[in-house]
Amino acid sequence: MTTTMQPTGTREIQFREAINECLRQEMELDENVIIMGEEIAGGAGRQDQGVEDAWGGPFRTTVGLIQQFGKERVLDTPLSEAAFIGAAIGASSTGLRAVAELMFIDFIGVCMDQLINNAAKMRYMFGGQVKVPFTMMTRIGAGFGAAAQHSESYYSIFSHIPGLKGVCPSDAYTAKGLLAASIRDDDPVVFFEHKGLYGISGPVPEEPYVLPLGKARTVREGTDITLVGISKMTWTAFAAAEELAKEGINCEVIDLLSVSPIDYDHINESVQKTHRLIVVDEDTPVCSMASEICSRVAEEVFDYLDAPPSRVTAPHTPVPYSRAMENEYMPNETRIIATVNKLMGR
């Protein structure tokens, strides 16, 4: 268990507050940090009329920043993701550390080119002449009746792209530490916030701190099977593990945290102990993070595996609106438990 990846202290704040606190502290520490996006503050251009933070971010993760840092460093944008995300990349390659927010990952298709052809490749194409310390914050996650265009979790697409890094924090503590790491990192990082985590509180140190990019953590030790969770799914896996413990099955639960690079050493070590692997991934299955992890583990610790590396993911369908179907779409404890039982031969 990587203890440094666990919070110390007793102050509890929400995931959303942890993000907000991190942004505030990073902007205090480094005047090169700026942030831009739609409704980052809200009521743009009406500050004179006493309008401030009309939204403070659609999920209030950026509230208060404009009061403290002013509209030169906290920039509300028009609905122009390609331009402002591209501009953030350009700014990051010329001396700033720009953070840009894409309201939901579902909209990536309007600005993807700037990510894949500029942010990801500039350093390489330029032969190392440039650093692009750019962070894109965005939101993922289904389960809210928001239907097919507001519920995606496309992190696998970004992990596929060489030149990008990606993180999926799972709680307030990792949100603050990994966001700080993302902003301070000299490479482009995509920071994926799960909508279902915003309201959840947990212990978070008040002072700024950084958690390492590229490291997973074990959130529950166990000996029988390794469950790898991504983002909110870590806790779905955890809950399933607690349930299974009652039946005498001892699951180890790994919180992936970083989707590029992926901490294979951590996962492999666990599987070498438990001999079984299930990846729990809210995204659809084909060419997914789940397939990536299962395939690497199968390749790298093949001889240790006592059962097929398996996955519990969403099906290969868009996200349906009606809860009647969406509940079935989401990976849940029942499916995890059934899969564990199958792999355990019960």
Binding site: P78, E328, T339
Partner: protein, 335 residues
Amino acid sequence: MDLDREALLKLYNTMTVIRHFEERGIPETGQRGMSASVHSSAGQEAVPVGVCANLSDEDYIGSTHRGHGHCIAKGVDVKQMMAELFGRATGPNKGKGGSMHISDMSKGMLGTNGVVGASIPLALGAALTSKVKGLNRVAVAFFGDGASSQGVLHESMNLASIWKLPVIFLCENNGYAMSTPSEYGVSTTHISDRAQGYDMPGVLVDGMDVFAVYDAAAQAVARARSGEGPTLVECQTYRYYGHTVFDNPLTYRSKEEEDHWRARDPLNHFRTVVIPQGEITAAELDQLDADAEALMEEAVKFADESPLPKPEELYDDVYVDYPKDMMKRGVNMSI
């Protein structure tokens, strides 16, 4: 304006149905826990109604996240719409789409759309179909002031212009994209002025006046049908409520501003214009309001009594033809 009594009544009726749908349907949806992405168009009724009065079921519209009004004006069944919002199997989308994806291909309604600007090229494509097949249909692409900053609009206006497609770019400028005022987000005083850069007419219209909208749309539709190409129409309008139910608009706009626009309410405006003409009485319009209210009662009841989709319908309608086992294979689904 060439509207007879019946047509006038229809205009009002459609507006009041939209108003009642928004004011009843949205809170009812919220009470059923499905309000995540529902946007009210109350206040903006004159725009879709004025525009769609020029269209037939054969014509097409592309719509937005704020699309209930577009749907109703284009003839989508209100009870089915309510069922869709409630996530029921009897919705036009069988509960798969919800508020942001309501569509009815039989009415030429190409879907409300959750990605700002994304439906614009769909309307372009429908216009292309009409042109290639010689169907003499037109397509209207509705979009907001916020959407005017999306690149795809620029590309689409250019493409429609060079191909002389029978399409109308219909901007509903309600002054805000979420809380961002258009005077901040849009670098031109009037979005309609951008039409010049694409060699098409740009028309600025009072979007609270259904007759003004009707006339402007009539001209644009005539131009499109005669093969002369696209028009950009900007309708100045206002949404009475927040961006979604989670938004309190008074955090970014004033009560005075709201009052100013509410004083120009499109239903009221209709009354002040039409009743004095003497052909239509206030009582008749009151009756239409009452009918709309009753219709919503019915719609809510219909929706509530409708079955939910079965969980296994999750796998239907992804493709016309794809091995269903491939959709669930190896991911340990429970059904």
